[in-house]
């Protein structure tokens, strides 16, 4: 089963009301804008349906749905065909906003909802691991960012200092 099949499955989950809204992030999301980025898993961010009378959000409805379609759990992943998939709830206002403003991109006749490039870049800056910084550099190098929108996001989510540090560390010789 291919990544496109994963997208078909997740779209069906949304159509069947198992999840409210989803968007693809991480390396798979970045691949919509950049060159293919090696990854072992697909990150799907979801707005979880809250169940009446329950305060905690749970993955159980998603897992039940997928199990009934032949998927299974492996470590922290749900295996959808050959792909380990992580269903993630937004853990910050930045990721919530990325989910709310994600865009639809056609994948050979199947619509996929994906974080905007500017949000993927801002999340990479916020996360700040070596591979995230490398990804942010790729976004910049390939001219994939709307600089105004990107800087608005940085200001809105208090990431300007982190951006200034990143600029000093990686971009001082590029200007």
């Amino acid at each position: 089963m291919s990544l496109r099949d994963v997208i078909v499955t997740v779209n069906q989950m949304e159509a069947d009301g198992v999840i409210d809204r989803y968007a693809i992030g991480g390396a798979v999301g970045a691949t919509f804008y950049l060159e293919p980025i090696a990854t072992v898993d697909a990150d799907i961010f979801v707005a979880f349906k809250s169940e009446p009378g329950k305060l905690l959000i749970t993955l159980e409805p998603i897992l039940d749905y997928l199990r009934s379609r032949g998927c299974f759990m492996k470590d922290e992943y749900v295996m959808i065909g050959d792909w380990p998939v992580q269903f993630l709830a937004p853990t910050s206002r930045l990721v919530e906003e990325a989910l709310d403003t994600a865009v639809e991109i056609d994948v050979e006749g199947e619509s996929a909802r994906v974080f905007r490039a500017e949000h993927l870049a801002a999340i990479a800056l916020q996360t700040g691991r070596a591979k995230d910084k490398a990804r942010l550099l790729q976004f910049l190098e390939q001219g994939e960012l709307d600089r105004n929108r990107f800087h608005e996001i940085l200001e809105h989510h208090s990431l300007v200092d982190a951006w200034n540090r990143f600029e000093r560390q990686f971009l001082k010789n590029e200007q």
Binding site: S2, L3, V28, E35, P36, T39, I105, V107, E141
Partner: protein
């Protein structure tokens, strides 16, 4: 000091742009193949580690 020839840097950059410009369906198929390759390498590495451990025992 940077000893990396500019020609190589430019050529890599051009290839990455070429890959980025491919249709998304094609790029996702490349990810499918990369993931399969990575899984094969991980299995081989795990088997190698197991064999080395057994050899030491």
């Amino acid at each position: 000091m940077n000893h990396f020839p500019q020609k190589v840097v430019d050529s890599k950059r051009a290839f990455r742009r070429e890959l980025a410009a491919k249709p998304i369906g094609e790029k996702l198929r490349i990810l499918d193949r990369m993931r399969e390759r990575e899984a094969t390498i991980r299995r081989a590495a795990a088997a190698l580690k197991t064999n080395r451990t057994k050899a030491r025992e």
